[in-house]
Symmetry: C2
Subunit: 201 residues, 2 copies
DNA sequence: CCGGACCCGGGACATTTGTCACGGCCGGGT
DNA sequence: ACCCGGCCGTGACAAATGTCCCGGGTCCGG
């Protein structure tokens, strides 16, 4: 029996996947969590063979949790299951020690098979996505440029960002201007969207 | 046997829900579509008793499709199944003739039961959500203010919006200023997010 | 018929945003 | 030792944005 941990915030999706995987004769779902900051605790308790993690989770990113699992439970293979096939996500997933990267499109049949492959030590990645990740190159933004961009979502003004980051307004504007240049966009919001599409945020 | 049509863009979610509903002894999934503009055709072909529609679909909104179904297949009950419990969505769903409104949080067990209730003519709505929809009141934005807001996502400049709507830049700025005022926000992006949260967009 | 709401546009103005040039400070690599 | 890059800040400037006026038009309900 392959012991599986499932981390996914949408209740219906989580329940459906758990039922599905549980129907496979060789797979058993030993833990389900809806928050990113519950993953490590649950894994230590239930000792899964494979962890199936969403990326966008409340509390803690699935990517960060993957890195935690590599340290805390090294014999647990991590599979990332996410809505968005962003190149930067794939890159970060690999750096965090994940053995596979699935997008929520594509057929359900993929899922159980991916779990089995993961246990056998094979890596499971969509080839087209891998190519995109390679061709996109690494994240060109510096840490502070990322911070500034991330803080400028939902219409925060320069003053808000500066306050949140404990910086001068001038500095924030310089970072944003630089990020806009690097993303080849025309303003903050376009830069945010471009960076998000690449998985840089 | 209850004949169900399933409209959902995420392949894995769609497949999982279909399998799940198919396991119920009294339910049969007779059609699955991944795009909003395929709903009506599929419904005319497969004559479902209940249509389970996501809102955010490529091609055509699930809410618009619900209105279509009311005309084309009046004996088919419509259930809306969506990620976001936005008050405005619920209101529009009811106006489009839906008999129920489910959010993708909450347990999977809800789902089959909701389908059965829908067939019996009962309406299925989360009471807390219904209260929120009532207390929020109707959409205060005019049609053009909505257009301007909707066109200003992903960092479009005023000139872009004006060109896309065949309007003068002054007009666009007036609409946006008005929308900002009505949403009680400080700039475009905050207004967009506020309007989206309410389901006004 | 009149008021009110929506649609569309113009002009003027203050504020915000984005750009550029310029400093200084640190740490790592050659 | 030196340079380079990231970090933090300033000042000045052009462009974009948001606000407040104003005008005109239509349509609908009282």
């Amino acid at each position: 029996m392959i012991r599986v941990l499932l981390a996914e915030d949408q209740g219906m999706m989580r329940g459906a996947l758990a039922l599905l995987l549980g129907m496979e004769p060789d797979i058993e779902v030993v833990a389900q969590v809806g928050r990113g900051d519950e993953i490590v605790d649950a894994a230590l308790l239930s000792r899964p063979d494979v962890a199936l993690l969403d990326i966008e989770l409340p509390g803690r990113s699935g990517l960060d949790a993957a890195a935690d699992l590599r340290d805390e439970t090294p014999d647990c293979r991590v599979l990332i299951l996410t809505t968005f096939g962003r190149p930067g996500y794939l890159r970060r997933a690999m750096e965090a020690g994940a053995v596979g990267f699935l997008v929520k499109d594509g057929p359900v049949e993929e899922l159980a098979e991916a779990v089995r492959k993961a246990l056998r030590g094979e890596t499971v990645i969509d080839p087209a996505l891998a190519a995109a990740a390679l061709s996109a190159g690494p994240n060109p933004l510096t840490a502070r440029e990322r911070d500034a961009l991330a803080a400028s979502v939902d219409g925060a003004t320069i003053a808000d960002i500066a306050a949140g980051l404990h910086l001068s307004e001038s500095t924030v504007r310089n970072y944003l201007s630089s990020a806009i240049g690097k993303t080849g966009t025309r303003n903050r919001m376009e830069a945010v969207r471009a960076a998000r599409r690449q998985g840089w945020l």
